[in-house]
Each structure stands twice: as structure tokens, then as C-alpha cells.
């Protein structure tokens, strides 16, 4: 009757054991790292890149985790014992090269090799985001993704206000805001991120206060300037996952578009006029860009009047909120973003319509033979003098 010791010795003798250096070399060449410890051990720290297949479920779950039996496996446990037994079992299951990490996780840690602690939300965030955690498509993993997301808002006005508030509420970790304006009384009919208290203040300051009050988890990065070819690269430099375009003029729209294509950043586009709004997602490579639709801005003589066209106050609330929704879908990687789909909303009739948008192979920026290679600062003229 063999003892445990003898069983272990026999297992170790029949399998391949490697030390940490050899293991790292194997991993660099494409081996899969498998952690066979219990869930409570895994929860307290693991080697980065490992998949978790507790030894209790080894036989049933390994095929899912490692479908290719020719892929070498580096198996570890706490000390190198359970991993020896696991390697033996995997050899019996037909895996070509299952090796056991001698000394296991304990030695790995002791030698100062990289480990990672699991990220959890902590009790305060579990409370704040509880309604997100209850949704299977979000959950703790999704919420952590949102906290890691960086979203840049062009404009903190009609569209940017609701978008910024809902993105902040959702826990987007970093919100950039580009807006050179100050809060004006005419804004308060729709720009709900601002208030009577903040009249005369830069919109970036006003929005920052409002956002930080709503959710201190959010880091606000303010750019109190107009977007031009001179500053756009600097503004993009920190790195952004999504751009929410709530600009109020053509030159900015085109700068944002061209930058998004060159930097491979999706843009959630929204625009409004009186009772009608439009929203779509321009994702470089997947769908059209703004120039596929409108290769050039309209000529000055056909530009809209310089006075504001008037807009139902709540309309940017609807469109801006849809923009925030699309940005969240992109950040989470869920649902069907409005790529190649233009959603039109008519507030008066209460109707939504959808237009199919296609990439244009002749697009001057994202087409097969681009003719625009550098930022263009369109000069915006005002049709009609003396406003």
C-alpha cells in the first residue's frame, strides 16, 4: 500500500518539472499557464496570464481551457505537489507536454517574480454600482472595465452635458472635456451640466464640479481650448478609448474625424437642430467615417446661419444620452453599437428612423487612396452679416 509520499514521488518521477526560468522561457514561446489551486488561493493572488482550473475540476474543465493538446502547459500549485499530480493526469489525457512548476506559487513569489492581485471593486463601489453589477452583461468585470475607460468629450454643451453626466454616473474612470466656452444664461435652457451658480465660469470648470459631485471615482481632464490642428495631437496624447463628439461647428467635426481615423479611436457622433437629432458611431475600420458621408464641409454661402438655429431644450438630452449609451457599449464591448447606422429622431412626430451608412472606398481620409493626410483647419464663415 503506497503512502502519499510514495505516490507523490512516483508522480514527480514520471513527469517533467521545470524551474521558474525554464517556465518563463516556455511561456514566452506560447505555453499556457495553468493554476490548479483552490478558488480561495486564486482569489488571493496568481501569476499573471494564468488560467484557473482547480484540480478538483481538472479533467472536466481542462479541454475548455486548453483545447489544443499540442500546446505546452506550465502547471502550478502552491508548492509543486498538486501540480505534479495534475501534470500526470494531463499526460494521461493526451496532452503532449504538461510540465509542473517546481516550488509552485510560493517559491515564485519568494523569488520576487511577478504576481497579480485580483481586482475587486471594494464595498463602496459595490454599493454605488450595484445596479450595474446586477446586469449579467456588466457585472464586476464590466464595471472594472468602465473604471479603466478613458472617454474624451468634445464640447460640454447641449450634447456634452447629458453625455458627461451619464458617463460619470456609470463610473467611467477618466473623462476628458474639450470646451473653450463660458457658461451663458442662454445655455441653461438645455445644458444641464451647468447651473445658475456657474454663470460666467468656464464650462470645463462648471462641468468638472458637477461631475465630481456626482461621482468622485471620475477623474476629469479639462482642456479649456478650441480644437485646432495645433492642439489636437496634444489633446489626444494621454490616450482615449472613445470620443464623444458634441461639437457645434464643422471645423471641429472634421478635425475629430480625421484624428479618429489616424489614431483608430471610435467616435460617437451626435448632432441636433430644432426638433431633429442624429446619432451614429464612426468606428475606423468597421464602418464609415464622417467624411464617407460628407467629404467636405458645405461651402460658406450654404453654411447655416450664424445665429443659433434654435433647439428644443430636451432634444440634446435625448441625443446626448444615446451618445453616452453608445460610448458605454463600446467601452464594455457589449450590444450592437450604431456602426454603419444613422439613427434619426424626430421629436415632434416621436419617430426614430434608421439610415444605412456605408464606408466609401473613395473617402479622402479612410478610403483606399486617401488624399487628406494632414489636419485641415476649415475657416468657418458666417452666411449673412451683422448678427
Amino acid at each position: 500500500m503506497p503512502t502519499y509520499r510514495e505516490l507523490l514521488q512516483s508522480a514527480r518521477a514520471s513527469i517533467e518539472e521545470v524551474d521558474a526560468n525554464a517556465a518563463q522561457a516556455m511561456l514566452a514561446e506560447g505555453a499556457l499557464l495553468v493554476d490548479v489551486r483552490e478558488p480561495d488561493e486564486w482569489a488571493q493572488g496568481r501569476i499573471p496570464g494564468a488560467v484557473h482550473v482547480p484540480r478538483g475540476n481538472l479533467e472536466s474543465r481542462i479541454e475548455n481551457a486548453a483545447p489544443d493538446r499540442s500546446q505546452p502547459l506550465v502547471i502550478y500549485c502552491a508548492a509543486g505537489n498538486r501540480s505534479a499530480f495534475a501534470a500526470k493526469t494531463l499526460a494521461e489525457l493526451g496532452y503532449e507536454r504538461p510540465v509542473s512548476l517546481a516550488g509552485g506559487y510560493v517559491d515564485w513569489q519568494r523569488n520576487g517574480l511577478p504576481t497579480e492581485l485580483p481586482r475587486t471593486l471594494g464595498p463602496a463601489r459595490q454599493t454605488r454600482y450595484s445596479r450595474h453589477l446586477l446586469i449579467p452583461e456588466v457585472g464586476e468585470e464590466g464595471q472594472l472595465k468602465l473604471l479603466d475607460s478613458r472617454i474624451l468629450l468634445i464640447g460640454a454643451g447641449g450634447l456634452g452635458s447629458p453625455a458627461s453626466l451619464y458617463l460619470a454616473a456609470a463610473g467611467v474612470g477618466r473623462l476628458g472635456i474639450v470646451d473653450a466656452d463660458v457658461v451663458d444664461e442662454t445655455n441653461l435652457q438645455r445644458q444641464i451640466a451647468h447651473s445658475t451658480d456657474s454663470l460666467g465660469e468656464p464650462k470645463t470648470d462648471s462641468a468638472r464640479r458637477r461631475i465630481e459631485g456626482l461621482n468622485p471615482d471620475v477623474e476629469v481632464v479639462a482642456f479649456r481650448e478650441r480644437l485646432t490642428s495645433e492642439n489636437i495631437e496634444r489633446i489626444l496624447e494621454p490616450g482615449w478609448d472613445v470620443i464623444v463628439d458634441g461639437a457645434d461647428n464643422f471645423p471641429t467635426r472634421y478635425l475629430v474625424n480625421d484624428a479618429s481615423v489616424w489614431h483608430d479611436i471610435p467616435v460617437v457622433h451626435g448632432s441636433i437642430f430644432r426638433f431633429e437629432g442624429q446619432v451614429t458611431v464612426f468606428k475606423p475600420g468597421s464602418g464609415p467615417c464622417y467624411r464617407c458621408l460628407f467629404p467636405q464641409p458645405p461651402p460658406p454661402e450654404l453654411a447655416p446661419s450664424c445665429a443659433e438655429g434654435g433647439v428644443l431644450g430636451v432634444l440634446p438630452g435625448v441625443i446626448g444620452s444615446i451618445q453616452a449609451t453608445e460610448a458605454l457599449k463600446l467601452a464594455l464591448g457589449i450590444g450592437d453599437p450604431l456602426i454603419g447606422r444613422l439613427l434619426l429622431y424626430d421629436a415632434l412626430s416621436g419617430e426614430f428612423q434608421e439610415m444605412k451608412l456605408r464606408r466609401d472606398p473613395a473617402c479622402p481620409v479612410c478610403g483606399e487612396d486617401p488624399s487628406i493626410m494632414d489636419y485641415v483647419d476649415y475657416v468657418e464663415f458666417c452666411a449673412g452679416v451683422g448678427h
Binding site: 454643451g157 447641449g158 450634447l159 478650441r226 458634441g246 461639437a247 457645434d248 461647428n249 464643422f250 471645423p251 471641429t252 467635426r253 448632432s271 441636433i272 437642430f273 442624429q278 458621408l293 460628407f294 467629404p295 467636405q296 464641409p297 458645405p298 461651402p299 460658406p300 450654404l302 447655416p304 450664424c306 445665429a307 443659433e308 438655429g309 434654435g310 433647439v311 444613422l342 434619426l344 428612423q353 434608421e354 439610415m355 444605412k356 451608412l357 456605408r358 483647419d377 475657416v379 468657418e380 464663415f381 458666417c382 452679416v385
Partner: protein, 75 residues
């Protein structure tokens, strides 16, 4: 589509400059959709239009504001 637009423009002459370039082709800064499809992906202005077709004329819209101090150049 051409006939439909001609009819529309005869009733609203100011539309002509907004929709056509050089009087014959669709201007590049406007898009026209029939049943949700861009006519440029179909037969352009020769795209057939039926009874009850949904047509959308979509000019480029950048949004409202161009108030004091913002214009980059004045004509």
C-alpha cells in the same frame, strides 16, 4: 428620385442650391436616402421611388452655436 426632387425644387426653389451641384448631380454635402439606403449606393438620382417610399434628405449639420467671439474668419 430626380423627378421627385425636381417637383420639390419647383415648389421650393431655394432647395435647389442645397441639394444639387451644377444643377444635375447631388451635392457632396447632402445625402439622400430611400427606405434607409443611400441613393449613391443604388442608382443615384435615377433610383426608382415608389408610392409610400420613405425619403430622407440629410444635409450636413454641425449644430447650433456660432456666437460672439467664435468665428474664425468673417467674410
Amino acid at each position: 428620385m430626380r423627378e421627385l426632387l425636381d417637383d420639390l425644387m419647383s415648389r421650393f426653389p431655394a432647395l435647389r442650391g442645397q441639394l444639387l451641384e451644377g444643377d444635375a448631380e447631388l451635392a457632396p454635402f447632402v445625402n439622400v436616402y430611400v427606405e434607409g439606403e443611400d441613393v449613391r449606393t443604388r442608382q443615384g438620382l435615377d433610383t426608382p421611388v415608389g408610392e409610400g417610399s420613405q425619403i430622407v434628405l440629410l444635409p450636413a449639420m454641425a449644430g447650433g452655436a456660432m456666437s460672439r467671439g467664435q468665428s474664425l474668419g468673417r467674410g
